[in-house]
Symmetry: C2
Subunit: 162 residues, 2 copies
């Protein structure tokens, strides 16, 4: 019998707790998908996943989003958003605007070029994600979605505790 490809779950033994096994499997699946999408974005569009994610946040916001809002939605620090925005601005895909009402705040918007480039990437990216999850039936996807929703609710509730 051929050994499966090693990954984060390989080190587990029977005496490891169920929660540990679940955590490592969750992490393994996320890593596999992330790695695949990163490779395809680089090969097809010469871009990166964080840059794609930032553009995706702006897609439905022609009025732009503030750095702090981008930071929260992307689940990264504002310092990181600064760097990713620098790169996208250099590529002409986004532009920064200072809020005249509050000069501390900066709003980031897609440029016309950014809208066009992102629309094309988003179309192809959606096909990739559909393909990556196609091993699950619609009912299984719904179950997974619901279970992760419950997990997420618990994680967020916990953090809210003082």
């Amino acid at each position: 019998m051929v050994s499966p490809k090693p990954d984060l779950e390989t080190r587990l033994a029977e005496d490891h707790h169920q929660a540990i096994k679940l955590w490592l499997r969750l992490l393994t699946c996320t890593n596999l998908i992330t790695a695949e999408i990163r490779t395809r974005l680089r090969e097809n569009f010469e871009t990166t996943l964080p840059r794609f994610d930032l553009l995706a946040q702006l897609e439905r916001h022609p009025e732009g989003l503030r750095m702090g809002e981008l930071s929260q939605r992307m689940m990264v620090t504002t310092g990181n958003v600064t760097g990713i925005t620098d790169q996208l601005e250099a590529e002409g895909l986004v532009r920064r605007e200072v809020d005249p009402q509050d000069r501390r705040s900066i709003t980031v918007k897609l440029t016309p070029k950014g809208q066009q480039v992102f629309a094309e990437m988003a179309r192809i990216h959606e096909g990739w994600v559909i393909e990556l999850f196609s091993g699950l039936s619609a009912a299984e996807k719904d179950s997974l979605y619901a279970l992760l929703g419950k997990l997420k609710k618990h994680l967020n509730h916990k953090e809210a505790r003082p």
Copy 2:
């Protein structure tokens, strides 16, 4: 009604594909857990998640693991393993040994101090993971585990295709 905390799922609308919604929820849950464990490891043990992961790989291997094997199990590049190993070696938690039969190969082993330090961290870490997943019943954890297993199998099968 209070708005939920923004995250990767916030940008989604009804017309986004189910697979995209599932992918962003998976990513959101992974990010929430990763962020929480990273913070606790730093505050309690002054270490990082990648370093913890590397030590965890070595726990059940007193004979050590090779750099390439560590790279596969941790799902990162061998270059990255080099850097993380450097740090752990500097802390006295692991040591490198050249394979006398094949001087290209290096085996990484836990030092006695590394075994002791890791045992303590692993004990506490397990409690954290149990707590983080405690919002799900045992049956729900089993379901999530099985669904992710099916997803993983599909992801690995796809990569094997030429």
